[in-house]
């Protein structure tokens, strides 16, 4: 290319780039400004199911939904169905895509509408959480202001952030020497806390300030049990065998257990802050064995509950004779709330039965034969028996 052509080529290149840029801007603007029929698109996305069911149509619907005008974000969030956990993720990613595009092109999000959406607790908890995160992204002080008032929010995610904010406030009061005020702030946060790590954190703060904390009651751990063991589980053979406690609860009965030994119910009250019952210590160490644990919970009225079990052993949970969950897993990790069985309490006495199965692994880390169970609502608020007796923990 000679010296004459160079400027011309440059001008052409600039012109082409300018035109291409105009097209790109037009495309971006058009894409960002689309108003879509969110309701029908969300219906198609909410139809996704197991094994990829509905994916092909949902993918097409998502591609259109993601071009929606940012003003439609609250409308789109309203399409989240609380129990449709798969579709929730499709919808969330569409909202994130819309918001990211809007902010990248210098646009604004509909903050006022998002705040209204967030504060309306009739909306799906996860949808409200997305609204909160968007608000916090574009206006952090607004996010902080809003979250401070959500200490008892039905969304566990929002509540968690509110409690974190409250803990920080209490710590500040403590640093400033405001003993009673700090104590009150910690107590408020403790009463609202539902996440295990936050409960533990605040309990430690309260204990340091000389405050009594009843962790078992806060969590809803069942402390008083009737136990019977061992029944046969050699080669994991007993997990699906219905031993007598599965068909009758007679606390004065004796049965033939493992190796033809007579077994009988014994009463046990745990003193562990987290409701742990060590069967190896309470009954005796057995391998290839089954234990049953029975407790009663007196409720004033019918209500849905979750029975949350922690156990490294295989297990089943029954509530009033209904099997809520069965997990034939041995020594594969553990923790509070490891297994969740959802059921319905009736007014009056409710019968809780657990089956805790030990296998025959010989490794040191496979010797635990224990469990902990709490009764709570869907966000972890304790459901206590009306006749709950105060217990002492160590």
């Amino acid at each position: 290319m000679n010296w004459i052509l160079k400027p011309l080529a440059s001008r052409i290149a600039v012109a082409v780039a300018f035109i291409a840029g105009l097209h790109a801007m037009k495309a971006a603007t058009t894409q960002a400004a689309d108003t879509v029929d969110a309701t029908s698109l969300l219906t198609r996305i909410n139809a996704v199911g197991p094994e990829g069911k509905g994916h092909r149509d949902a993918t097409k619907a998502w591609q259109t939904l993601a071009t929606a005008d940012a003003k439609q974000i609250p409308e789109i969030l309203a399409g989240m169905e609380p129990k449709n956990v798969l579709a929730n993720n499709w919808i969330r990613s569409a909202v994130e895509t819309i918001a990211a595009r809007q902010l990248a092109t210098g646009g604004k999000l509909p903050q006022s509408d998002l705040e209204k959406f967030l504060q309306d607790t009739r909306n799906a908890p996860r949808a409200r959480r997305v609204a909160y995160e968007l608000i916090s992204q574009i206006d952090p002080p607004a996010g902080a202001r809003l979250i401070a008032g959500m200490l008892n929010d039905p969304s566990i995610e929002l509540r968690r952030d509110a409690i974190a904010s409250h803990i920080a406030k209490a710590e500040k009061l403590e640093e400033q020497g405001g003993g009673p005020n700090a104590l009150a702030a910690y107590r408020t946060a403790f009463n609202a806390a539902r996440d295990v790590d936050q409960i533990k954190e605040i309990a430690e703060k309260l204990k340091k300030l000389g405050e009594q904390v009843n962790l078992p009651s806060h969590f809803g751990f069942v402390m008083n049990w009737q136990l019977i063991a061992p029944f046969e589980n050699v080669n994991r053979s007993g997990f699906d065998v219905a031993y007598p406690p599965e068909s009758e609860i007679k606390l004065d009965a004796t049965y033939t257990g493992k190796d033809n030994a007579k077994v009988a119910w014994i009463k046990h009250t745990t003193t562990d802050d987290f409701g742990a019952v060590d069967i190896n210590k309470t009954i005796a160490k057995h391998k290839g064995a089954i234990a049953y644990a029975y407790a009663e919970l007196v409720a004033d009225k019918p209500m849905p509950v979750e029975l949350r079990l922690g156990s490294t052993c295989a297990n089943k949970i029954w509530l009033n004779g209904e099997l809520l969950t069965a997990n034939h897993v041995y020594h594969a990790g553990g923790g509070i709330d490891q297994y969740v069985g959802s059921g319905q309490l009736k007014a009056g006495t409710n019968r809780i039965l657990l089956k805790i199965a030990q296998n025959e692994q010989t490794e040191e880390w496979a010797q635990d034969w224990q469990f902990q169970l709490r009764v709570c609502d869907a966000i972890g608020t304790a459901v206590l028996s009306r006749d709950r007796v105060a217990t002492t923990t160590k």
Binding site: H55, R56, A58, Q338
Partner: protein
């Protein structure tokens, strides 16, 4: 790394300075993407022309970006994008895919989802344990909770599967860690556990199930591997504690099986006609005809948690005592051993004649592989716990911890 988990320490920069660093630049083949666990061929062999092997506070750190969550998973590189998976939240139930510009370290996009499966894990691991994979068009991010996310390279959702939503007993509470592999349009995942144990081939384009196979109901964290069979057609290898099986990636049909006692964390790989199997140390199989034949077994090639790597000439393993061993791929004869020190979750990578090893404390050592000895020629310290196998692309090294993603490049000093 692969059941990538790990504990870390701190203060990368200070440690880098204190320990100094070393390395020369090494020459390898062509620059390439790093699209999956153990790189483009799944062998741990880098195809980059050169790698930066000297870094410190003032040297060769192109950028360092913060990550929004934990993860023992490895970064992958697709074109100019570096993709990392993370998990966050009180229950590790917020799962993220984050994409960075490889040149600048700027976050290009981030997508978040709610896990639909079990999220409990050992404290050293996290939900974002499996390494994502890419076919160059899409990203397939897999998690311990058995959520499988498919995004295009710009972060647009293509589909979302909750495998534990479909099969609620799938998973374990130590944490799953098997990484997916993409071959012939199938995203192959291995979900082996005590309850609902299976392997699955999922249509990469639609997210629909192509096939599902029952697998042994026991612990297993190893990852599937892809290679070509004797007829040149792709096959997928699935390693379980009691056997290795080979499958057609499209139909899932089993082609052959080899029964032996396999490890449950380090993963099989295929290179050329060889299958490097972490079993009884290393078991080397050769593919011929319709079934593999054993070339050699060597219990002197015992693996720790890091997976073996192999370039077709030599096999390298790091054992649980932190000793790097090199053996002849054809005979199994040991060439050399070198004590690296530390506990390794991150699988080493091989670039030319150099092996880069990063232990769980973030201490990196570079070993020059000779005919009869492996010589430590350099070391550095990230100062943070490192579980993920490093990635390389265009002469740069990408390393992630629970907090940061580093680009180390000989061409880009800050």
């Amino acid at each position: 790394m692969h059941i990538h988990s790990i504990r870390y320490s701190t203060h990368f920069i200070r440690s880098c300075v204190a320990l100094s660093s070393l390395f020369a630049t090494i020459a390898t083949a062509n620059a390439a993407d790093w699209p999956q666990f153990r790189g483009p061929a799944g062998t741990g062999v880098a195809t980059d022309k050169k790698l930066p092997l000297r870094w410190s506070e003032k040297e060769n750190i192109a950028w360092k970006s913060e990550l929004p969550g934990r993860g023992p998973s490895s970064p992958i590189v697709v074109g100019n994008r570096v993709v990392v998976t993370c998990s966050d939240g009180a229950r590790q139930d917020r799962i993220l895919v984050v994409c960075f510009d490889a040149e600048s370290g700027k976050e290009l996009w981030r997508r978040q989802f709610w896990a639909t499966g079990r999220t409990l894990s050992h404290p050293d691991s996290a939900n974002a344990a499996p390494t994502p994979a890419s076919d160059g068009k899409r990203i397939y991010a897999f998690y311990s909770s058995n959520d499988l996310v498919c995004l295009d390279l710009d972060g647009n959702l293509q589909w979302y599967r909750g495998l534990a939503h479909d099969f609620p007993k799938a998973g374990n509470d130590v944490g799953m860690a098997s990484s997916p592999v993409v071959v012939q349009g199938s995203v192959v995942v291995q979900v082996e556990n005590f309850a609902d144990s299976f392997a699955m081939g999922i249509d990469a384009e639609t997210g629909e199930t192509r096939w599902k196979l029952a697998r042994p109901a026991t612990f297993n964290w190893s990852s599937p591997a892809a290679m070509n069979g004797p007829d040149g057609k792709p096959i997928v290898l699935l390693q379980s504690p009691s056997k290795l099986t080979a499958h057609d990636p499209v139909s899932g049909d089993q082609l052959w099986q080899y029964e032996t006692t396999c490890e449950t964390i380090p993963s099989v790989l295929g290179v050329g006609k060889y299958v490097v199997l972490p079993a009884k140390g290393i078991t080397m199989l050769e593919l011929e005809g319709s079934a593999p034949k054993i070339l050699w077994e060597s219990n002197r090639m015992r693996t720790g948690s890091a997976s073996p790597i192999c370039d077709g000439e030599s096999v390298y393993v790091i054992n649980s005592a932190g000793v790097l061993t090199c053996a002849d791929a054809k005979t199994g004869d040991q060439k050399w051993q070198t004590r690296i020190g530390g506990t390794f979750w991150a699988t080493p990578i091989l670039a030319g004649e150099h092996i880069l090893c990063i232990n769980q404390d973030g201490k990196a050592k570079l070993v020059k592989s000779g005919a009869t000895k492996g010589e430590i020629v350099g070391e550095a310290d990230f100062g943070e716990r490192i579980q993920g196998t490093p990635a390389t692309s265009n002469g740069a090294l990408f390393v992630r911890s629970d907090k940061h993603l580093w680009k180390i490049s000989a061409d880009k000093t800050p």
